[in-house]
């Protein structure tokens, strides 16, 4: 089958699976394999980061250059940005000023390290944005913000201790990206918030909490149940997704902390694992569309399961279960 909208099913036919949720599990794995970067792509990204790091520390020997976000945690989709931050070794905020910002942006421009270089000085977090000439990947560089580095370390430890987290996060991220619901400044759900929702769901799931299933063998049903929880049942007006010092998830009522109260009660609240008084999904003001999208995904997936369950083998051939909720736009890989 050659449907260009879901290329991951090419040469991977699972239509003979008796259980539709197994079919979906296999398609999730095929999709992840399809969107995972090749050895060359990984090398090219690493080269870009290494070259920039060398140039910046060459110019400022007392600076460190770190990556955070999806690049640092290996949760990136094809074409995702690279997020970098420059911090002073002494942690004295030496580079948190406009002259550093402009010095670095002219350096990048003059040495042709980036194209379309933009210097955004007036934002809450001043950044330099540009496109890497070699890979055409978008790069953002900020200064002296260490919370992204801390979050990346936490996410890496979560991926290690929660099988299935990486797989479900990649699917949900792609689902949100296709609908442009993944951009925080337009009210969408950011990467870290997405990871928090998936991890909380997985850890609190009765079958997972009792250790009675292997999540990697049950990704299909778990994906449907993720959409079921956050698209249908979750009490957003009242319930906060939280994590204790050990990273174990729990829920707490919004009433218990002023930091989570809002004029509009229908808002997503996720307690910052590093700061109990901070709601990391504060910027996600478009919860209505996100909840509706999750609910719609649940409906489409279960209806597809019912249809495929009744279909003949001939009707099933070349069908995609995942393709009802996820399209792959962009270059064929």
């Amino acid at each position: 089958n050659n449907n260009p909208r879901y290329p991951w099913i090419r040469n991977n036919d699972h239509s003979k699976q008796i259980e539709i949720s197994d079919w979906l599990t296999m398609e999730i794995k095929d999709f992840i394999k399809y969107i995972s970067p090749s050895a060359e792509e990984i090398q090219a990204r690493n080269n870009t980061v290494g070259r920039l790091r060398e140039c910046i520390t060459g110019m400022w020997p007392d600076a460190e250059v770190h990556c955070f976000g999806s690049f640092a945690t290996d949760l990136y989709l094809p074409g995702s940005d690279i997020d970098m931050v420059v911090v002073s070794k002494a942690r004295n905020n030496k580079y948190d000023n406009r002259s550093s910002l402009y010095q670095l942006s002219s350096y990048i421009r003059n040495n042709k390290l980036g194209i379309n270089v933009e210097t955004i000085a007036k934002a809450k977090v001043p950044i330099i944005k540009f496109v890497d000439p070699a890979t055409k990947i978008h790069i953002d560089i900020s200064f002296e913000r260490t919370n992204g580095i801390k979050a990346a370390e936490l996410i890496i430890s979560w991926i290690k201790d929660t099988p299935g987290l990486r797989e479900l996060v990649l699917i949900v991220k792609q689902f949100l990206a296709v609908r442009r619901l993944n951009v925080v400044h337009t009210g969408g759900l950011g990467g870290f918030a997405t990871i928090c929702l998936v991890r909380s769901f997985l850890k609190l799931h009765p079958r997972m909490a009792t250790r009675s299933i292997d999540p990697l063998e049950n990704l299909g049903v778990l994906l449907i149940e993720f959409f079921e929880l956050y698209g249908y049942n979750f009490g957003y007006d009242n319930t906060v997704v939280a994590f204790d010092e050990d990273g174990d998830p729990y829920y707490v009522s919004k009433n218990s902390n002023a930091a989570f109260q809002n004029r509009n009660p229908f808002t997503l609240a996720i307690q910052d694992p590093h700061d109990k008084n901070n709601n990391i999904s504060r910027g996600t003001f478009n919860l209505r569309d996100i909840k509706r999208a999750f609910g719609g995904a649940f409906e489409l997936l279960v209806n597809k399961c019912y249809d495929m369950n009744q279909a003949t083998y001939k009707e099933r051939l070349g069908q995609s279960v995942l393709g009802d909720i996820i399209k792959y736009k962009g270059k064929q890989r």
Partner: protein, 89 residues
């Protein structure tokens, strides 16, 4: 060896909530791990939280408080005591 066990949620597929061809058991089925000496299922006392009222000790499907979500839960969800392994219910 793996066991496949159907989620035993709707006991009667001719019930009023759905017809047999739209039974959640069609997709809500898990490949379960075998429980033995080396691998015991664990009662998740500190991981039972209610998605509706946020209290500890019961799942959202069994919540006695008024439902917060305006989207109905007709067939039940994954977050019910019924979804614990039989040995732990």
């Amino acid at each position: 060896c793996k066991q496949r066990r159907k989620f035993n949620f709707c006991t009667d597929c001719n019930s009023k909530t759905h017809s047999a061809d739209r039974c959640p058991n069609i997709w809500r089925s898990y490949i379960t791990l075998p429980q033995n000496k080396a691998h015991k299922f664990k009662y998740p006392a500190d991981l039972i939280y209610c998605y509706n009222c946020a209290e500890r000790g019961h799942y959202g499907d069994e919540c006695l408080q008024q439902r917060v979500s305006k989207t109905p839960n007709i067939n039940g969800s994954a977050f019910t005591g019924e979804n614990l392994p039989r040995e732990l219910r």
